[in-house]
């Protein structure tokens, strides 16, 4: 035992070191430790990747992380018995870039910056199993799992300028604001042979577009439903209304949103999946959303097998 004790101590010590990230002396080149499930538990924290400046999903108020993805991350960490740590994601040109930069490889300017899990990742089997021209699976380095919300498109309008939005055809005549380089941008600029194109106004984000609606530059704003609901819940936007029009011609009317981990960390994935599955089914996910005045739709994934009563519970319809 006398001989074994130092070895045991050394083993414990080594484990503590493993839980830390590896610092090889140059910030740019440090590689993260393989933060698998055991290492995460050992380290006492979970690094949750969420998009920066992206209300109502993830943003900061006075330096404090806020938003439904942040709240979900906190809830998951609490259930795992570890501390929540936020990993802000600067969005790149598409989801594949974000997964590479934040989940499996790291950005080449900050290879050490990886999240243990990334949220707000669309859960779509077609996307997950997409192949490139040589037959390789494009997203084989990650696992997409754990859908927790269904997202969709929404228009808000100013009733002082528009009686209603029966169809998007009114935007041949009334200016509408969108976030630049998003699907609402492309849709309104190109749909119906570009007949609404002249009336589209481009902004850096949905909040700026609402600012333009308050100053009378635009009569309406199109964005994701949660983004629009979030703006509508603000006192300065109380005069605006949510429209109930359809979006003919948009291929993706609704989509599920879930999580992503590195493919070698499936054990972590199973643990996270179990936690999120419970939050969805119990209605806690709905409470999390409705607590921030956001409508909640259960992911399409659950609609395939949950009965009506279970769905009603999950969506808080009593």
């Amino acid at each position: 035992m006398k001989i074994l004790a130092p070895i045991l101590a050394l083993l414990l010590f080594t484990q503590a070191i493993l839980a830390q990230e590896i610092d090889d002396g140059d910030k740019l080149l440090n590689r993260p430790a393989e933060r698998n499930y055991d290492v995460i538990l050992e380290s006492g924290y979970l690094k949750v990747g969420v998009y920066q400046n992206f209300p109502p999903y993830s943003y900061q108020v006075d330096g404090e992380p806020k938003g439904i993805d942040v709240e979900l991350g906190r809830r998951i960490a609490r259930e795992m018995g570890v501390e929540f740590k936020v990993h802000w994601i600067v969005p790149d040109e598409n989801l594949g870039d974000d997964l590479r930069n934040n989940v499996w490889k790291g950005h080449y300017l900050a290879k050490r910056r990886l999240a243990d899990v990334m949220l707000r990742v669309p859960y779509d089997k077609t996307y997950a199993y997409m192949q490139d021209s040589t037959g390789e699976y494009i997203n084989e380095q990650v696992v997409l799992f754990g859908p927790y919300q269904q997202e969709t498109w929404q228009i808000a309008f100013d009733p002082a300028r528009l009686d209603s939005v029966e169809t998007v055809a009114v935007f041949q005549y009334h200016p509408i604001g969108v976030e630049i380089d998003t699907l609402p941008d492309f849709y309104l600029t190109s749909a119906f042979a570009g007949r609404m194109r002249e009336k589209v106004r481009y902004y850096g984000n949905v909040a700026e577009a609402f600012g333009a609606m308050r100053s009378g530059e635009v009569s309406a704003v199109m964005g994701m439903r949660a983004e629009i609901d979030h703006e509508l819940s603000k006192p300065e936007n109380a005069q605006f209304k949510a429209a109930s029009n359809g979006f003919p011609g948009i291929g993706k009317q609704v989509w599920d949103v879930g999580m992503a981990i590195k493919h070698t960390h499936r054990q972590l994935g199973y643990a996270l999946e179990a936690i999120v599955d419970r939050l969805v089914r119990s209605g806690e996910m709905n409470e999390l959303m409705s607590g921030q005045q956001l409508r909640y739709s259960v992911p399409g994934y659950y609609r395939d097998f949950l009965d009506e009563a279970s769905l009603a519970r999950a969506e808080g319809r009593h």
């Binding site: 140059d26 740019l28 080149l29 998009y51 992206f54 999903y57 802000w88 600067v90 969005p91 790149d92 040109e93 598409n94 989801l95 974000d98 950005h107 080449y108 300017l109 900050a110 707000r120 990742v121 669309p122 779509d124 077609t126 996307y127 997409m130 490139d132 021209s133 040589t134 997202e151 630049i180 380089d181 998003t182 699907l183 941008d185 492309f186 849709y187 600029t189 190109s190 749909a191 570009g194 194109r197 002249e198 009336k199 589209v200 106004r201 481009y202 850096g204 994701m224 011609g249 948009i250 291929g251 993706k252 989509w255 949103v257």
Partner: protein, 591 residues
């Protein structure tokens, strides 16, 4: 001997003094006459017209085999990736930039470092296209370069200490600087790089001594240009006259047209020549119209930033054919008259010869073996005649399927990319570093961005031939004839230089610095630098000997893309060096 620490320090500072002795302020005259002064290189382009032609013939076709390495210098640290820099040399000191916005001053005789400057880059910076830097400008007692966080940094050329640092654009909005700035009449002229985040390209002039902004010129129609006088910002006309002429709706507000490769300057016509990038958004069906001044060359007044003329190579671009490639001024004789011309080899595969006094199209011809997207150029205007079905489909028309795949040649990385070509006054030929590749473009059936459904295009880049991608070509600008070609297995990504010694120099991703016979294309010299060469060579004379230098270090945009091309380059190792060669005195044939 081991107590010699102080001795070394004294020796080093004595060296620094010896080097700075005789060093003097670089003047506008020296910069304008750079192409005539073999003892230094004080401009990007070895002359502001960008010809990259040296009048020195000491090193020539008969003795180039005796060219030997004089010294090599490592940029150090584990930071590597693409070294696309062109060094400058003044008073026995080399100033060279490296990846990650670094700059070095090196004793040009011995290869010893005099100082190093590392720009402090902010966390979370996301430059779109690798971490390269293409070179510096030199003026007075300063060397000036651009950084990945879109700043201009002026350093004291003796000490490497910053004199002024100016923010040119906001890196958080997607801007960066990778091109070498240039000096014209005491002003630092720079463009900006930017991705697809709704940026607007611009060219700006700063006072080289103080860093104060002198004028700004947006490169998208509808945006106001300004001059700055006595602290006041004065309107100087809207680019293109007014908004919305060649853009639908309000799309001009975020039109792209980034000026990411810098420019050239022609003293004869007193014009800056800048190229512009592709228009935003990438989907051309969203923006019917020519979308000025995207994918164009602009002649700009260096005094106030006014646009004198423009020539658009790819109107309503739908293939990512940036129009940034350098426009090189040259004169030629035709029917007894001197023509003041300028030439450019565009990403779109066509070589253009323009009248540099007014931007008129003189002639144009393909410089690559095949062009699919256009059948040719209008002989009067130079406007492309589009091939039917050659434009990628509109993703908005898609119904959940992949849609039709369009094959386009050249690929989006271009018949020629950023790497500068050279013009020989001796052979009157342009030496064009080009690539033969094609791309498939289709509409992605599923695409997401920032947590939301999106409409994206998929594409893959592929070689056209089994055994080579890169082609160094000698092109006759008067006839469009390809006089000779050299085929290279990997894509060519380094710049070219030519000399009165009848030589053409360039580097290859395989790692070689190569010299060719300018008349025949025969390979006369090669030296393995240890990593891929994607920099641009220079030559100068010092102590009666002719030197050649080139940066070595594989990287740039090619390895960032996958597909078939990646298979050709995936085993190339990164690096970060400057190699300097010289022809020993006794090898120069008596004159």
């Amino acid at each position: 001997m081991r107590t010699n620490k102080f001795g070394i320090r004294i020796a080093a500072s004595a060296l620094a003094m010896a080097v700075s002795y005789g060093a003097h302020a670089v003047t506008d005259d020296e910069i304008i006459n750079d192409h005539k002064s073999p003892e230094d290189v004080v401009s990007y382009g070895m002359g502001t017209q960008g010809q990259r032609y040296s009048p020195v013939a000491d090193l020539n076709t008969s003795n180039v085999q005796y060219l030997q390495p004089a010294w090599a210098f490592s940029f150090g640290s584990e930071k590597m990736r693409g070294q696309e820099s062109q060094p400058l040399v003044k008073d026995g000191v080399m100033y060279v930039t490296a990846s990650y916005s670094r700059m070095y001053a090196i004793d040009a005789r011995t290869g010893e470092e005099l100082w190093q400057y590392d720009a402090r880059l902010p966390d979370g910076i996301m430059p779109c296209c690798d971490v390269v830097n293409r070179g510096a400008a030199i003026y007075g007692d300063k060397v000036i370069f651009g950084t990945l966080d879109a700043k201009l940094v002026a350093l004291n050329k003796e000490t490497g200490k910053p004199v002024w640092i100016k923010k040119v654009a906001d890196y958080q909005a997607g801007y960066a600087i990778t091109a070498a700035p240039m000096i014209v009449k005491g002003k630092v002229i720079t463009g900006v790089s930017g991705g697809e985040f709704g940026i607007v390209g611009k060219v700006e002039a700063y006072d080289a001594n103080t860093g104060d902004l002198v004028w700004t010129r947006p490169t998208v129609e509808g945006h106001m240009g300004y001059v700055y006088k006595d602290g006041k910002k004065i309107e100087n006309g809207i680019s293109g006259g007014k908004a919305g002429v060649t853009w639908p709706g309000e799309m001009w507000k975020n039109g792209g047209a980034a000026t990411w490769l810098g420019g050239t300057y022609d003293p004869d016509t007193d014009s800056l020549f800048f190229g512009t990038g592709n228009p935003a958004p990438w989907n051309s069906h969203l923006r019917p119209g020519d979308n000025l001044f995207s994918s164009s060359r602009l002649a700009i007044d260096p005094d106030d930033g006014s646009i004198k003329w423009h020539f658009q190579t790819t109107p309503n671009d739908g293939w990512d054919y940036d129009g940034v490639n350098e426009l090189i001024s040259f004169d030629y004789e035709e029917n007894g008259k001197i023509v003041k011309a300028a030439a450019t080899a565009d990403r779109n595969g066509f070589f253009y010869v323009l009248n540099r006094e007014n931007g008129d199209f003189i002639r144009g011809f393909p410089f690559v073996d095949k062009i699919t997207w256009a059948e040719g150029l209008d002989p009067d205007t130079g406007r492309p005649i589009y091939t039917e079905g050659g434009r990628p489909g509109n993703p908005a028309d898609m119904d959940g399927s992949k849609g039709e795949t369009v094959l386009a040649q050249p690929a989006f990385l271009g018949g020629k990319n950023w790497m500068p070509m050279a013009y020989s006054q001796q052979t009157e030929l342009f030496y064009v570093p080009s690539n033969e590749w094609a791309m498939d473009i289709w509409n992605e059936p599923v695409s997401y961005k920032k947590g939301a459904a999106f409409l994206g295009a998929g594409f893959t880049i592929k070689p056209v031939n089994d055994d080579y991608i890169g082609v160094l070509r000698a092109m006759d600008p008067k006839t469009g004839e390809e006089v000779w070609r050299y085929e290279n297995t990997a894509p060519l990504w380094g710049g070219v230089m030519t000399t009165a010694g009848g030589l053409v120099f360039t580097g290859t991703p395989e790692g070689h610095l190569k010299a060719f016979d300018a008349k025949t294309g025969e390979e006369l010299y090669r030296f393995n630098t240890g990593s891929g060469v994607v920099g641009t060579p220079i030559t100068w004379t010092m102590d009666g000997e002719q030197y050649v230098s080139v940066a070595s270090g594989w990287g740039g945009a090619v390895p960032l893309w996958g597909g078939e091309v990646a298979k050709v380059v995936k085993n190339f190792n990164q690096g970060g060096m400057v190699w300097t060669f010289k022809l020993p005195k006794d090898r120069i044939a008596s004159k």
